[in-house]
């Protein structure tokens, strides 16, 4: 399952969930719309989702101008602007140039404006730095230049020190560095630090600024020219895109350019100007009328009235103690809810009360930063505003109780300090006692009854009691932080002490590009070498560990309280994440198709991602090679004869009971050979201590494939492959491999897999687990492919978006790659 597929699947599921709850894809049912309310689901609701901040959409002058334009030009003047434009365009662009005091070009939408401009503006040798929260339409346009090899990266939202640091680095290679940001951000409503950005432009002549000020348009500045230009005049190294669809209340987008040449260039070369349709006369007529309002003093009165409503809203949010994410003078507000299910609950309740608001949910915000996004327009009355906020405050507390969540958890998820007077919520503790489930937490597997643990989870792989003791010993007291893991074990029991859930967690530093394409990891590894060894690394709370595989969760789904137990486990995980100070939680490996679990996880702010395929051989009921071959497909039989049997006599298999330190050193080098070659599953290199400890642990077996020397002398013999395997009662687990690539011609890796299978058979095992990756090779031996998924939650999605923004230079296909595991 590809990452893209899981992303779409998560969106689809979210969409389905929201549709079922009647929160999205709604229809305004009014025959005639007159003010700031509409009918939805046969109920009148006050509209707190409109971006027409100045309420100009009902202005009679604009309506009349739209009608007149239709009378004059019909419903559409259907021709590409490259050929001919209706006269309204010229009139509008003339007026807009006066509004912005800079040359302008009108595009059918702001999104198409970005698509027209960015590929024309950006040269192959330029670098682009995206603000983490820059509007999706800008990011999509940037995707168009990535295939040209343009360097694209991302900085944390509004972090000017980070931006400056990157400018300093990039200016050594790039003559033009574009910082792309929004003027007013569409979700939280916060503004870009324009003064600092301009200071940086003055300081670094390489810095260019591309800004989307759609939500600032009309609401701020002289003639309503927007937030950005209310702070500073147009800069010669700046291009601004803005919208006529929001407070301007007509249609289209505007590109505000530093000079006329730029306008001509975009108009001549920008794809949407060459081949897309123009704006309709009605929208153009309305836009011309809106321009007249903007060029008159009336605009300041409208702006003033909007500001009064914004001021009142800020005051009410404070008075009602709602966790508002951002207080400023923009008309966009966001009240934190954290969990999607809590956000959905509140939005639904508000709709039932007659208030239409928006849900701010993944992917526009991180999954655990869901909230109630609402907008304020000039048309709202104070009464409407207070009524809505009163209802929100009332239903917020009811929804918290219903979803078994606390306000403290909400503040924590948004990293906001919680007001002292609100720290009294004990809902969670009450829930625990109500469900009568008992949670047991341990720091070491030695504190848990071995028989019970092994009975629940011991047969699943390498995480039986002894296997976990090994991990605890190895991943402690190491020099590098990535090699020190913290272990936590959780067992949840019912009143009769029967376990419903048992699992373990490790908190460890991990690479965020672990599952990214190799070409992305290659770029990141270069920065880890030059800048910061822990660049794009996150302390992650894993269900299981980075050195175990399979389903790590014992869950008794036949128990009537299993869902309560899961909810309790998720609460415990949230606490653990706080305690261990992890920023990402990764719960793995779950079944691909489990809609019940998907829904539970989504409600709790987890999204689903694909993880590498796992391989297991379950058929070991054969007695010799011929019988084994018979179990294979026709194609695999051929492969076996050509690639395995042919070279079998070249190798000498050896099982090492008491290896020397010299041998372990050599094997470690072979392991590093494989590790350094493969970035497709990009993990930290395991420390030598892992291999030393394995060598002394009788539950681990180390097998080597020696190449027989032509001289026949023992000392001339060389090791082609080393296999590190963990055995438990019933399973043989092929965990790590090391290879000497000098012997590739003998298919040493394939031979290694075969010899592992033979060894498992010899030991009377029921299954052989072959681990992740190299799927094609493993399937040739009849391995069953398990396609698991993981549920992931990130405190903020910055690192993941940085990865998403990076240019995939050359896709490296991973299926055939030999991995260390």
């Amino acid at each position: 399952m590809s990452k893209h597929h899981t992303f779409i699947e998560t969106l689809e599921q979210l969409g389905e969930d929201l549709r079922e709850k009647g929160l999205i894809h709604l229809t305004a049912e009014d025959r005639v719309l007159e003010h700031n309310s509409f009918y939805v689901q046969k109920k009148e609701v006050i509209n707190f989702g409109s971006c027409s901040y100045l309420g100009l959409e009902f202005d009679s002058r604009m309506k009349e101008a739209a009608k007149k334009a239709i009378d004059d030009y019909g419903t559409q003047f259907s021709a590409s602007r490259a050929y001919v434009s209706p006269r309204y365009y010229a009139e509008l662009e003339y007026k807009l140039t006066e509004i912005f005091d800079a040359p302008t070009l009108v595009a059918p939408t702001t999104t198409l404006g970005h698509i027209a401009t960015i590929p024309v503006l950006i040269r192959d040798e330029d670098a682009i730095i995206l603000d983490h929260l820059v509007h999706n339409s800008v990011q999509n346009a940037v995707n168009l230049v990535k295939p040209r090899g343009v360097h694209v990266e991302m900085v944390r939202h509004n972090k000017m020190d980070m931006l400056e640091d990157r400018i300093k680095k990039l200016r050594q290679k790039h003559k033009r560095i574009w910082y792309m940001a929004d003027g007013i951000y569409s979700m939280y409503g916060e503004a870009a630090p324009i003064d600092i950005i301009f200071e940086l432009m003055d300081k670094y002549t390489e810095l260019y600024f591309y800004v989307d000020d759609a939500h600032g348009m009309s609401c701020f500045g002289k003639h309503g020219r927007g937030y950005v230009l209310s702070k500073k005049p147009m800069h010669e190294r700046m291009l601004m895109a803005t919208s006529l669809n929001k407070a301007y209340a007509s249609g289209g987008g505007v590109l505000v350019c530093p000079n006329k040449e730029m306008v001509v260039k975009i108009k001549s070369c920008g794809a949407p100007f060459l081949s897309s349709g123009p704006m309709q006369p009605a929208a153009l007529g309305a836009a011309c009328a809106a321009a007249d309002i903007h060029l008159s003093d009336e605009i300041y009165q409208l702006q003033g009235e909007l500001q009064e409503n914004i001021k009142y809203t800020n005051l009410m949010l404070k008075k009602y103690n709602l966790p508002s994410v951002n207080e400023n003078n923009s008309p966009v507000f966001f009240v934190a809810a954290s969990l999607p299910k809590l956000g959905f609950n509140i939005i639904r309740r508000l709709l039932d009360e007659g208030f239409y608001t928006n849900i701010g949910v993944f992917p526009t915000v991180p999954m655990k930063n869901t909230g109630i996004r609402f907008t304020i327009t000039r048309l709202h009355t104070f009464k409407q505003i207070e009524d809505m906020i009163t209802a929100m405050a009332y239903h917020y507390s009811l929804a918290l109780k219903e979803e078994n969540f606390t306000l403290e958890q909400v503040y924590r998820a948004f990293r906001m300090p919680m007001p002292e007077e609100q720290k009294s919520d004990k809902v969670l503790q009450q829930l625990v006692s109500l469900t009568q489930l008992k949670v047991e937490r341990f720091r070491s597997v030695e504190q848990i009854n071995k028989e019970e643990w092994d009975g629940l989870l011991g047969h699943r792989g390498t995480f039986n009691s002894k296997g976990l003791q090994f991990l605890e010993e190895v991943f402690a007291n190491n020099i590098f932080p990535e090699n020190n893991w913290e272990f936590d074990y959780i067992i949840i029991r019912d009143v009769a002490n029967k376990p419903i859930i048992a699992t373990f967690f490790t908190a460890a530093l991990s690479k965020d590009d672990m599952l990214s394409p190799g070409s992305i990891s290659k770029q990141i590894e270069e920065r880890r070498i030059t800048d910061d060894p822990h660049y794009l690394c996150s302390k992650t709370l894993f269900m299981g560990s980075l050195l175990t595989e399979g389903n790590h969760l014992y869950l008794d789904k036949n128990h009537p309280q299993w869902k309560n137990a899961m909810q309790l486990l998720l609460n415990q995980i949230a606490q653990l994440a706080e305690k261990r100070q992890t920023t990402v939680t990764n719960l793995r490996d779950f079944d691909l198709e489990d809609s019940e679990m998907d829904s539970l996880m989504l409600d709790n702010g987890y999204f689903k991602i694909g993880v590498p395929e796992n391989h297991v051989i379950e058929q070991l009921e054969w007695n010799n090679q011929e019988e084994f071959i018979k179990t294979l497909s026709a194609r695999s039989k051929k492969h076996f004869k050509q690639d395995i049997r042919k070279y079998e006599n070249k190798f000498e298999i050896k099982i090492h009971a008491k290896p020397t330190e010299e041998e372990v050193n050599y094997w470690y080098k072979l392991y590093l050979n494989v590790k350094h070659r493969n970035l497709d599953l990009n993990t930290f290199t395991l420390p030598f201590k892992v291999f030393q400890t394995m060598a002394e642990d009788k539950d681990w077996e180390i097998l080597t494939l020696g190449i027989k020397a032509e001289s026949g002398k023992e000392e001339d013999k060389k090791t082609a492959a080393v296999m590190f395997c963990y055995k438990n009662e019933k399973n043989y687990n092929f965990m790590l491999v090391g290879l000497d690539y000098e012997f590739q011609e003998y298919n040493a890796y394939r031979q290694a897999i075969y010899q592992v299978i033979l060894r498992a058979k010899e030991l009377g095992m029921e299954k052989v687990r072959l681990g992740y990756s190299a799927s094609v090779e493993k399937r040739k031996f009849g391995a069953k492919v398990i396609t698991p998924i993981a549920y992931v939650q990130a405190k903020d999605n910055y690192n993941f978006e940085v990865l998403g923004a990076m240019t995939v230079m050359k896709e490296v296909k991973t299926n055939n790659a030999v991995n260390t595991r």
Binding site: E305, E308, L315, M316, F382, E386
Partner: protein, 78 residues
């Protein structure tokens, strides 16, 4: 939700009128010369005087009541 006097006077005149209409309680009124009508309102935990021009019946200003004895200035029969 109640606003303090300081918060109330952060708003412009039109907004103050809106707040008074929403949350104010009319108490008394008085004439100032023949030109202006002054209305006393209790809003939240304080009092304000709304000054209207008689000819146009438009509010020209809203003033805080800082003197507790101001009630004595009103002739409720006016």
């Amino acid at each position: 939700m109640q606003l303090t006097q300081g918060e109330f006077f952060q708003f412009n005149l039109q907004s103050q009128i809106q707040l008074i209409k929403k949350d104010g309680i009319f108490m008394m009124k008085r004439l100032v010369y023949d030109t202006h009508l002054v209305k006393l309102y209790k809003i939240y935990e304080f009092y304000v005087e709304v000054v209207l021009k008689r000819t146009s019946n438009k509010v020209v200003s809203i003033e805080p009541v800082i003197n507790g004895k101001i009630v004595e200035m009103y002739d409720n029969t006016a």
